[in-house]
């Protein structure tokens, strides 16, 4: 049985990733990104209701009262604990603006809902208010991006140092490219599904950076080891053999990680816990993309760059 050749077929993988990212880019240009209230600034009020309410009607009434753009949605969430857990209907009111609602405006929202006959429970312990000035949201976003940048640089330095046998720096650059690939895929999925970006997403993307680089390093580690043992073989062969040798480890680790994250997703989806659901969903995407980029992209890219450079060298030598 001839084994699948990862190196020879690299063009396929590069194309798949390229096309996918291109689709995401186009979608982004068409749809734009949805920023959660925590990034845009504004106020989010969650008010418990006795029964299902018409969210759109509430939005219209509130817009008239507040004279501001209002987004509403109805969520069924789980509340209470052990044994007594029950479904709760929450009306969520998002007002995105430069300044959060004043206490008077918050009261106006409550009064309007009561006046318009919505079955709201104003003294429910489940009610929540979140107000954020846009500067705080921008800061969270900025800090997240900064964390991605700093992590990438530190990882670059560490990988360049530890894998000097793979001409360190270029290996490190390829590892970081694979990593940014995963970030881009996660961003893309959010754009494609029109999910709102929030701080939970930032946490997820940073986790995936840690996870994806992990996978890449295991493959690199094999290349490093095999390069010593198989000195006579071509680099392409070494890369291919190394990917194959680490494949069952990669599959097992991905499966166990996916298993735990998927369980978290199923549990939070079944009970409609928004924050955990978003978190585990982005981890699932990142996990898959991370494995893909480690197996198909990172080492192949490194080998490809190396070939190009060698060609350039021999060309200039002539």
């Amino acid at each position: 049985m001839t084994r699948f050749d990862f190196v020879k077929n690299r063009k396929i993988f590069f194309t798949i990733s390229g096309v996918l990212l291109l689709i995401f880019l186009v979608l982004y240009l068409i749809n734009g990104a949805v920023l959660d209230i925590t990034f845009r600034g504004g106020t989010r009020m969650s008010i418990e209701c006795e029964q299902m309410v018409d969210a759109n009607l509430a939005a219209v009434r509130l817009e008239a009262a507040l004279n501001k753009k209002v987004n509403t949605s109805v969520m069924e969430t789980v509340s209470g604990s052990q044994g007594t857990a029950k479904k709760t209907i929450m009306l969520r009111i998002d007002v995105a603006s430069q300044t959060p609602l004043t206490p008077d405006e918050e009261q106006l929202v409550r009064d309007t809902l009561v006046k318009e006959g919505f079955p709201v429970i104003l003294d429910s312990p489940n009610n929540e208010v979140v107000s954020i000035e846009p500067s705080i949201g921008k800061e969270t976003l900025g800090k997240g991006l900064l964390a991605v940048l700093i992590s990438s640089v530190l990882i670059l330095i560490y990988v360049a140092w530890r894998f000097s046998i793979m001409s360190g720096f270029s290996a490190a650059v390829c590892a970081v490219i694979a990593l940014l690939h995963d970030c881009a895929v996660m961003l893309g999925v959010y754009v494609a599904f029109r999910l709102p970006f929030n701080d939970v997403f930032i946490a997820a993307i940073l986790t995936i950076i840690g996870y994806s680089i992990n996978d890449t390093i295991i493959v690199y580690d094999r290349i490093r080891e095999n390069a010593k043992v198989m000195q006579k073989s071509e680099i392409g062969t070494i890369v291919n053999v190394s990917i194959w040798q680490t494949l069952s480890r990669t599959i097992n680790t991905t499966l166990t990680t996916l298993l735990s994250v998927a369980v978290l997703y199923i549990f939070s989806a079944a009970n409609n816990i928004t924050s955990l659901k978003g978190f585990s969903f982005s981890l699932i995407i990142g996990c898959i993309s991370g494995t893909y980029s480690s197996v198909f992209i990172a080492a192949n890219l490194w080998h490809w760059l190396r070939t190009i450079r060698l060609k350039a060298k021999t060309a200039s030598a002539k």
Partner: protein, 441 residues
């Protein structure tokens, strides 16, 4: 030699069992815990419910030359005292010195239903500028909250040193004892000398909290307000005077009021998800790797137990993303074991003995595990330093999980694997997921 290994194996089992028991039940009597268990892990605001707010200093326009960091630090300690005075002890107030602001988390008190977080924060952040002012005899007859703050200022908060209460042995009522700084003596002596028989009002902002009549000229640092105070009244007044003044007003720019019940529901579900994920991972490992899989499951229990013990005993608050971090690090904790077992399998296939394969497998896997773990720890540290709130908590649990998984994989799994060969059955290659004969299939 053989007995030694068997002993080691059982010793490891006992250690793991002890760790698990400790993690579940803790150690020590209820009021003086030596080691805290799983139930005593602090939960973050997003699980317990409460207010999480960011407050920034609100200097009046044209203010110059204030040391902002110093102002915030003293504002923080005053706010802590104000909350302590209300019986709210389990809060956290932190000064974010780089961004000049205060981050404050206050959990709901038990059974709290009616609570307006904005109002509470506005009160908490109000400067409460303390002043002693002249009050005309006519105004002094008004109810306290109607006395206008219009008279000349005699003293302000900067001149006050402290305030407390003490019982008057003759009447049985309480006095409020005040102490001035040296800076205030002269001003106060002059005013009290002039105003004997008249009134001085003590104001916080423009609200009068006390309006005593001056009985005699006061030219010492210590004096008292006499009246028919009960202990509570005297203490409340002393507290107001003592904690009265923040150096600067604080304005909440971000307020999260989080419902406790929703958080608790989410926590229960996250825990259930964690247990199911743990069982599934163990099953997968056992089915795929056989005997080593069983041992890895034991090591994984030790990992989870250690993680719980660490979180419970350091007082790190665990948040929802933090729980995600634990579940994820469980998945990743398996990784170290997977790398080792894959290596051992390879060595076995190349025809080595089980003992030699275990030895070589660990040695070769070590570098790979270390390199991959270091990079994940880099990310966790960056998250911890840059992140706020939940992201920080996530950094802690992720970093801790990776670190502990490294320790459990290279210590627990290794010792278990090496010592289990004391038992005859464990020397059968079948139990390692490799077919008899050793040649590659």
């Amino acid at each position: 030699m053989k007995d030694n290994r068997a002993f080691k194996f059982f010793a490891m089992l006992v250690i793991i069992a002890l760790l698990c028991c400790l993690a579940f039940f803790g150690l020590g009597p209820e009021n003086a815990r030596i080691i805290k268990g799983a139930n005593e892990i602090r939960t973050g605001i997003d699980i317990r419910g409460g207010i999480s707010a960011i407050m920034v200093p609100d200097y009046p326009e044209g203010t110059q030359g204030r040391n902002v960091a110093e102002d915030l630090a003293s504002a923080r300690s005053i706010m802590e005292l104000r909350l302590d005075a209300q019986g709210i002890f389990d809060k956290s107030i932190n000064v974010d010195a780089t961004n000049n602001r205060i981050i404050i988390d206050i959990p709901w008190a038990q059974n709290e239903t009616e609570f307006d977080p904005r109002k509470a924060l506005n009160e908490l952040g109000s400067t409460g500028r303390l002043t002693f002012r002249e009050v005309s005899d006519a105004d002094a007859m008004l109810p306290l909250d109607q006395i206008p703050a219009t008279g000349n200022i005699i003293l302000d908060g900067e001149d006050m040193k402290t305030a407390s209460q003490s019982q008057n042995p003759e009447t049985g009522y309480y006095n409020v004892d005040l102490e001035l700084k040296e800076s205030g003596i002269e001003k106060f002596a002059e005013a009290t000398g002039r105003l004997v028989g008249h009134y001085i009002g003590i104001f916080i902002d423009d609200k009068c909290i006390s309006c005593p009549r001056v009985n005699s000229r006061i030219n010492t640092t210590k004096f008292y307000i006499e009246g028919s105070f009960t202990l509570e009244e005297a203490k409340a007044l002393a507290d107001k005077i003592r904690f009265g003044a923040l150096p600067v007003a604080l304005r909440p720019v971000s307020v999260d009021a989080i419902s406790a019940q929703l958080g608790q529901g989410a926590l229960d579900i996250a825990i259930k998800a964690g247990i199911v994920a743990f069982v599934l991972i163990c099953l997968y490992m056992i089915v795929y790797y056989r005997l080593p899989g069983v041992l890895a499951s034991l090591a994984l229990s030790a990992l989870v137990a250690l993680q719980i013990l660490f979180l419970a005993n350091t007082g790190v608050s665990i948040t929802l993303p933090g729980i995600g971090g634990i579940i994820l690090s469980m998945g990743m904790g398996v990784d170290a074991n997977v790398i080792i077992f894959e290596r051992i399998k390879e060595e076995l296939r190349s025809g080595k003995t089980i003992r030699a394969s275990v030895e070589a497998g660990f040695k070769r896997a070590f570098v790979a595990i270390m390199d991959s773990n270091v990079t994940t720890i880099i990310v966790a540290v960056v998250l911890y330093i840059l992140g706020t709130g939940p992201v920080k908590g996530f950094g802690v649990t992720l970093g801790l999980g990776v670190l502990l998984s490294f320790i459990t994989a290279v210590f627990f799994t290794k010792t278990l694997l090496k010592s289990v060969s004391a038992f005859g059955f464990a020397r059968n290659r079948k139990f390692y997921g490799v077919r008899e004969g050793g040649a590659e299939a």
